[in-house]
Each structure stands twice: as C-alpha cells, then as structure tokens.
Amino acid sequence: MIDPRVTRLAELIIGYSLELGEGAVVRLDGGETASPLLLALYRAALAAGAHPYTSVELDGLAEQLVELGSDEQIEYLSPTEWHEVENLDALVTVWSDANTRSFTRSDPDRHSRYIGARRKLALRRWERISSGDMGWCGTLYPNAAHAQDAEMSIEEYETFVFGACHTDGEDAAGRWRSVASRLAARADELGRVRELRVLGPDTEIRLGVAGRTWIAADGRLNMPDGEVFTSPRELETEGEIRFTFPAIFEGREVEDVRLRFEGGRVVAAEAARGGSYLQSLLDMDDGARILGEVAFGLNYGIDRFTRNILFDEKIGGTMHFALGTGFAQAGGKNISGLHWDMICDLREEGEVYADGELVWQAGRFLAEPGGGNGSAGG
C-alpha cells in the first residue's frame, strides 16, 4: 500500500513547491530506495500535465568511478548532462543514499576531483534556478540509511520527516503558505540590517549584510524548509566560529570545525576529526574559503540533529553558514564548486546583534517581525 504521506509529499512538491504547469519537462532524481516517492512524483507531475522522467542513481557506481577511474574519467561529464542542465524546466532531487558514508574511505583528492568536475554543471544549474529559468526542489526520502544517521527506527524517522514536511495531515500546502507569510515578514525586517554579530560558545563573528536580500525559504526550493537566509558581503566576515554539530559534506563527517575569518576569507581552520578533508575542500577553488550563505533556522518542528543538512539547517534555534557558492538572488557574488552548510547551535547561549541591537537570544528572535513578542517560523 502507498503511504498517503508519500503521496501528499509528492503532490506538495509538484503543486506548491514547483507549481509545475502543463508541458513542463521535469527530471526526478533519486536513489533506488526512493522509488516510492519518485513514482508518486511521476504520477503527480503527469496529473499536472507535465512531462516527467526519472533519473535513478544506483548506489556504488560513483564510488567505483572515483576508486578506479583515471583523472579524465573521473572528470568526465556527458553531453546528456549538459543538455539536461540547459533545457530542463524543473528538477526534483530526492536525497536517498543507500549508505551515507560510502565515500568515507575514498581518496580525498580523487573525490574532490569528482566533485570539482561537477562544479560547472552545478554552477550552471544554480544560475538557471536563481534566474527563475528552472524550478528546483530538494527533498529526502526516509530510508534506512538516513534513519540510521538520525539514530531512529525507520518508523520513527518517517514520522520525523513527514512531520517536518507537514505532510502528516491534510492541507500541507495551506500550512506552508502560512509559514511563508511569517518568514517573508522576517526576511523583510532583516533586509534593513547592515551588520550581524553572532556570539556563542567559542564564537564571535561579524558579517556584513548591507544591501543583501534576505530570502524566506518557505518550501519552494527545499522540503522541508523553514529558514531565512542571505549571502553575506564577501569580504567583510571577521572573527571566529565553532560548529558544535558535525559538518557533513558528501557523506563525510568533520567534527568540531573551528574557522577564523579575516577580510571574508578563512585564514585558519581546524577540526577534531576530518581535518585533512576540511583542508582539501577549502583548497578546492578560490571561492571555497568565502561564505556564500548565512541563515537562521526557524522550523521549530525540527528539534534535533539528525546528521542531515536538509533538516539540521532548519532546526529552530540554530544558525548556519555555508562556505562556497552564494545565491545571486540574495545579491551573493561568491562562486565555487563548494556549497557546504555548517550549523551552529545557538539554542543554549547564543546571541545575535543586528547593527548593535540584541535581536535573538537562546534560539529565538526576541520580537515578531514588525513588533510583538515570541518566535517566528514554522
């Protein structure tokens, strides 16, 4: 039997997130374990009059290529991939790794080469997404590997995922529309701020955000969602930050990352575990040492760390900072093959000052946008 929460998630993504119209060509990407959701998305897209097709990745193949391929083979991008990135009207990415750590033992240089080669493709994709030329939504299918990372049973994890997406009940789209209006008001207010100062355990960092646009992440590009973000001014980040949650990139975990910024760039980086991987990613290209994103996690329905950025970055009461590519629609100019979100838990003793004024304490904004008390978010 089809889980109705899966069907609702598919309909939410096709109807609300992408607003897919007649004739739109949409590719549905996922691992084999995501088959139930891919099939539901396929059906929902057909019902919308679109032209869907699935693109399923078998686990183990990329790992094999990285292990055995020559540099040329590892870096190869097929003409079809280029054609698709230029022509798709929409793309759904269903994260559903069969094993989230399958690259852990890969040679870091070979793995970076693999990711670096896909940078041009990723950049072009972001360009088309940012300009509104292509729709995109990234979501996750609750499979055993992700449940294992979250240290939950599959049933508990399904409850967590579908709860965070609001597809555990009827009218998910209606619920997201109401989240959207609250986040939009918060983004408006942050848009008037020139400088943010974030204080937390081993953290004191200043970011310039003047002239940048804050964007309400309201379930269009990600499902679940619930954050407001911008791309900070590239050359103004100063100070130190410590990430208490592990930072995970392409399935590899780096623990207790500490970064020091000067003039916008990371000038010192250390980690309790995974330090060499951290260094190799920072060295990927010029943009990899510059922040492309700063954000407030405001989905208070996500209350714990589950080792998955899609959820962790939205944990109500956290902030996250991404090294690498910025968002053009936010005014970001940084370009990189990297976009690595790292999460800073501010729920216990965090403080954020906006142009010198305390606006956030212990994981909550002090006032509703436009005045009033309490917390915003979904």
């Binding site: 088959s35 099939l39 057909l46 094999q64 003409p79 022509n87």
Partner: protein
C-alpha cells in the same frame, strides 16, 4: 556471495560484445533489479577506459504512464534521450523485469501510440549501428519474474541463462568466436539464395531474400546469441505461418499467432490469446504489417522454451520472423515503430527449401551446408 558468472558476463559484454575502447561513451540502460550486473559492467567499462553513463528505470513508471498520461504526454519523447542515442559509442541494454505482465491491462492502442512516438529513437540506434557508429548489445539479468515465465526457480533459471551465454565456462569468448565462424559460413551460403520456403504444421511461407545480406549473430548485439538473419524482400512474403511459442511482449502474453501474407503484407492475423493486442500492433503503421526480419535460431545450448524472445528466438531448430522495422545492415528497407519477433519451432515435422532445394529438416540444416 558474488556470482562469478555475473563478473564473467560483464567482461564478455564489455571486452567482446561491444569491445569498449578508451574514451568510448557507454550508455548502460537497465532497471534497478539488474544492479549487480550494472555494477560489474560499470566497473569493467571504467577499467577499459570508457565513460559509463547509466539510465536506470524503476518498476511502475511504465504502468503509471499508460494509465494516467494524456495523448500529448504519451507522444512526448524525452529530448535528452536523443542526446544519449546520438552521442553514445556503445549502448548496453540490460533487461531485468519485476513483472513481465505488468502492462496486460493497458489499452494496446496507447502502447502502439507510444511505440510510434519512439520510432525516431529506434531509427537513430539502427542507423548509427548500420553505419558502424554505434555498437549495441541487449542482454538479460535473471530475475524472479523471468524465472517464473520460464517455470523455473531463480537458481535454475540463472543456470539456464548463464549456460546459454556460455559464461559458465572460463573460455566464453573463445567459444563465441568459434561459434561465430560457423555462423558466418552459414550466412555466406544463405547469401547466395533467392527464395526460401518454410513448411511445417500450420506453416507454408515463401520469402524472397535475393540481394539481401545475411548477418551472423555471434554474441555482439544480443547476448546470448546464435542466429543468422536477414531482412526479407518487403513485398515477397506469400503464404501462412503459425507461431507455436507464446511470447511475453510489451508487458503481456500473446499466444497462438497465425499470420497470412499476400505480396509481403499481413492480410489476416489471428491469435488464440491477445487478439486485440495483435490487431493494434498490426495497425500501428504501414510497416507493421510487413516482415522486417527472418532468422534461423542456431544456439544448441538453448533447448528449452522460456517465454522470453531473447532466448526463444535463438533456440537451435527454430526460425523467427519480425513484424515491423528491419535492420538496415541486412538490406531491409521496412520502416515501422514496431519490431516484434515471433518464434516458430521447426524441430519436428518441418522442412525448409532454398531455391527449391531441401536444405533443412526438423530443426537442422542438412549435412554439408554452411
């Protein structure tokens, strides 16, 4: 435990069947059920210096499309498929079905409609293959569904499949090479003939083959293999033919097909089961009522009928005729969205005449031929 025969099959497909060279773009199409073979082929392609690219289908998509798509959606062909087909140096299709009858309830007219829409893609493959620009192969990875059609356990079916491909032996490539030489001699001999007449119970069919090229199939484009085929002269078929084997085709079973040809065209087509589907396939387009291929099955290590054309059409002692598109390299000129192989068992009470001379009886060419 990994099945060594899967690794060997992968090696034969990459090294022998499609001879992957450094830099070749290799398109690997399969369902997720074929994952062990996809991984082995992918690895071998990387080792051979090729660039593997996978297109993995998941069960249920085809049914969903047929049940829910509008005509416009059925007619749509994914433009990136054209890029795949135009750019690939090698195309491998690894069949692995979850349910061979999943489309039994689909309106055959909708299947015919989609086949027509996809004809251009098939043309690209066939034309590029004929021009020597594309090497392709089709094989099967044993699944429970295929084993069930064969009325075997999965383990028995694996033995059957790997036995038919000779990959249960160390020297599979040498075996195929020597088998191929025998088939080439037969193809050359058939190439000098002008007309064939096939006579069996329910069958008396004449086909013109003058000027057409016979092609020996030695494990390159199909795996397993073992046939010699040509494209008969399109207007030449006269008489009737009865196909003794039922076939699982396009997600359904069609049984007891009998066709009557006049001037190369099917003028009467009946089936004991699946009559409506047969009628729709014949009505797909003008070329669907003409034969695009005639072939002798020559693989003696396939004796059993398993309800799967890839194997059944190679059974030593059978012939098959395909309705629809011909392979350009055989000299055939028929165009159609259809290519449907129908198998006729000749192992008992049959005769084949070439230019009036008896050359084949009860499933074997007479001594000294080919």
């Amino acid at each position: 435990m990994a099945d060594a025969r899967v690794e060997r099959l992968a090696s034969v497909l990459v090294d022998y069947s499609t001879a992957v060279k450094p830099g070749d773009l290799v398109l690997i199409e399969a369902t997720a059920l074929a994952a062990p073979l996809v991984r082995a082929v992918h690895r071998r392609v990387v080792e051979a210096g090729g660039q593997p690219r996978t297109r993995i289908a998941i069960a249920g998509v085809a049914e969903t499309l047929f049940l829910h798509a509008s005509d416009d959606q059925l007619d749509w062909v994914n433009p990136s498929r054209y890029v795949d087909f135009e750019k690939a140096d090698v195309r491998m299709h690894l069949l692995a079905e979850l349910n061979t009858r999943s489309l039994s309830g689909v309106d055959p007219a909708r299947q015919a409609r989609m086949a027509r829409a996809n004809e251009k893609l098939r043309d690209i493959t066939m034309n590029r293959a004929a021009a020597g620009e594309l090497r392709w192969t089709v094989t099967l990875f044993p699944t429970q569904a295929a084993a069930q059609d064969a009325e075997m356990s999965l383990a028995q079916y694996e033995d059957f499949v790997y036995g038919a491909g000779l990959v249960d032996r160390e020297d599979a490539v040498a075996q195929w090479t020597s088998f191929g030489q025998r088939l080439s001699r037969l193809a050359e001999w058939l190439g000098a003939k002008k007309e064939l007449r096939v006579v069996a119970d329910g069958t008396d069919l004449r086909l013109g083959v003058a000027g057409r090229r016979w092609i020996s199939c030695d494990g390159k484009e199909n795996f397993p293999d073992g046939e010699v085929f040509t494209g008969p002269v399109e207007t030449s078929l006269e008489g009737e033919i009865s196909f003794t084997f039922p076939a699982a085709f396009a997600g359904r079973s069609v049984e007891g097909i009998r066709l009557v040809f006049t001037e190369g065209e099917v003028v009467e087509g009946t089936a004991r089961r699946g009559q409506e589907f047969l009628r729709e396939m014949l009505a797909m387009d003008d070329g669907a009522r003409r034969a695009g291929e005639f072939s002798f099955g020559m693989n003696e290590s396939i004796q059993e009928f398993t309800r799967n054309t890839l194997f059944d059409e190679k059974i030593g002692g059978t012939v098959h005729l395909a309705l629809g598109k011909s392979y350009p390299e055989s000299g055939g000129t028929n165009q159609s969205g259809l290519h449907w192989d129908l198998v006729c068992d000749l192992r008992q009470g049959s005769e084949v005449y070439a230019d009036g001379e008896l050359v084949y009886r009860d499933g074997s060419f007479l001594d000294g031929i080919g």
